[in-house]
């Protein structure tokens, strides 16, 4: 972690020699950046506006972004066409469970790797990191086989248990734990505090930024996950929001206004979360390079 790399977002230390720029450079840069930014955001604006349109207003010549008649009933109609409440509860439940799981397993393991001397530590840690080399989609088929052997297809266990460990999270937490002075711990342990108490009372409060980053990635990853829940669920009751919305799209694809209402509902929570805590998010990414 280097301080200049993470501190500098937005505050934009001048990197280029600014005063030598030609007079037209700044307006031109703004123009290009603005056009690009508009292209980034336009799909979202179009999505939300379309979700309030009448079906016959979606594809028109000339194009009009703004709904002529605001149809508020698209949302209740979409919501009633599929068990969206259930999808939502499923996603909230599985995302919470996987996040909690990742925090518990991650904090314990990271603490051991960072702070305890034990036999085989380096080998085990390397093995842990090695599992990151297995691409997610490649691991899906073998993982599916295990899940089906366990008889877990179409259950919450299948959606939760395999994802209760994040090696990336362990790595991040370990790096953070390493920066906390050792003397703190030696003093505490002499005082008779057990390691768990110390971990809970001292290490965790100090490691809050890392814990927050891990939580954030876990929540967003859980909310957005698609391939795995698509494969291991097949009943409507077990579908998550993303799988439900996609199934809805495949069924009601001819009604883009309804599909857009469903998509809006599926992406809005994460976008709001992102807008509130984007600094932590972007910095977490810049520091770790997770994709």
């Amino acid at each position: 972690m280097n301080p200049s790399g993470s501190a500098a977002f937005g505050l934009a230390r001048p990197g280029l020699v600014v005063n030598r720029r030609a007079r037209w450079t700044v307006p031109l840069l703004h123009l290009v950046l603005l056009a690009g930014a508009a292209a980034m955001v336009l799909p979202f604006i179009w999505m939300v506006l379309t979700s309030f349109k009448r079906p016959d207003e979606v594809f028109t010549v000339p194009l009009s972004l703004w709904p002529r008649h605001w149809v508020w009933s698209n949302y209740p109609e979409a919501w009633a066409s599929a068990p969206f409440t259930r999808y939502f509860l499923n996603t909230v439940f599985t995302t919470t469970a996987t996040t909690l799981g990742q925090l518990v397993t991650g904090i314990l393991a990271a603490y051991a790797f960072a702070r305890m001397e034990f036999w085989g530590r380096e080998v085990i840690f390397t093995l842990f990191l090695g599992t990151m080399m297995i691409p997610d989609t490649v691991a899906t088929i073998p993982n599916y086989l295990v899940i089906s052997k366990l008889g877990w297809l179409d259950t919450y266990q299948a959606l939760i248990v395999p994802w209760t460990v994040s090696v990336f999270g362990i790595f991040l937490l370990r790096q953070f734990f390493l920066t906390i002075p050792k003397e703190l711990e030696e003093a505490a342990l002499i005082d008779g505090a057990s390691r768990l108490t110390f971990l809970w009372r001292v290490m965790l409060p100090l490691a809050r930024p890392a814990v927050l980053t891990v939580t954030l990635f876990s929540v967003v990853g859980g909310w957005n996950s698609f391939f795995w829940p698509l494969i291991v669920t097949n009943s409507d009751e077990m579908r998550t929001v993303q799988v439900g919305v996609s199934a809805f799209f495949q069924e009601y694809g001819t009604q883009p206004n309804l599909a857009m209402a469903a998509s809006t509902v599926a992406v809005i929570p994460v976008i709001i979360l992102f807008l509130f805590i984007q600094r932590q998010f972007v910095e977490g990414i810049a520091r770790t390079g997770i994709r």
Binding site: V18, L29, A112, F128, I134
Partner: protein
Amino acid sequence: MRGHSRRYWRQTALAYLFILPAALILLVFHILPMFLSLGVSFLDWNLISRPEWVGLRNYTNAFANPEFRHALWMTVYYVGTSVPLTLALALALAVAFQSRLRGTGLYRTAYFIPYVTAANAAAIVWFYIFYPQSGGLLNEALHAIHLPRLQWLEDPRWAMPAVVIYSLWKYVGYDAVIYLAGLQNIPREYYEAAAMDGATGWTAFRYITWPLVSPTTYFLLIISIISSFQVFSPVYIMTPDGGPLKSTTVVVYYLYQQAFNYFDFGYASALAYILFVVLFVLTLVQRRLVGKRVIYE
């Protein structure tokens, strides 16, 4: 090993207890399955039938199969276009972000939002943006600047470029953020010294920025290639049945069909292993070729 104290072994036992939950999950759901599916890749098996040993036949079938070779080729086409395009644009963006401009924070937010959006939901939106007739957002935009409207996802020539456009939109902000972090590590003095010698703009970029940001380029190249080799959601959502004339059938989509539409798990496992080996070799080759030329500070 024998020289360690009792305290050391007590600590080892405790540490194993701490690691156990994570290790158990990794073992059962991530490591074990890789071995299991290696075994399955030598079988003819649909999960219900009696598994039958077929040796390497699944592998030889894969390479003899024109559909698989086509899927491999479409994946290479997708990776080969989307990765360089996204990286080039991201670097340009990062350089622009880095020069002191008002509103950089707002721009960054705008460019980054697509990355945090669920891929499948975003793909649903883009499906309609690529509406193949008049009245679609993109087609009307093209029409406005006097370009012909396109069939996009329904045209075998334009379906894959449409997926590439989607990916560009989705990942350019992410790559730019990583690039920006790389750019911040280049000492400002280099630019100042170069400016004294009259080197600014393109020359400064060519001889300072580009070589010194190469570790970031290398890093992004590897993770982008690995992740885009596994592209699935946009293809699954935007082009049902693998696109017109299978023009968007990429490897993971093909693998998905073999496993979950035809339940040919032996064949699908072999495909997964081929993909795994391809990605592994790519990483190694890149490390040898590109890694050597990367300039570290």
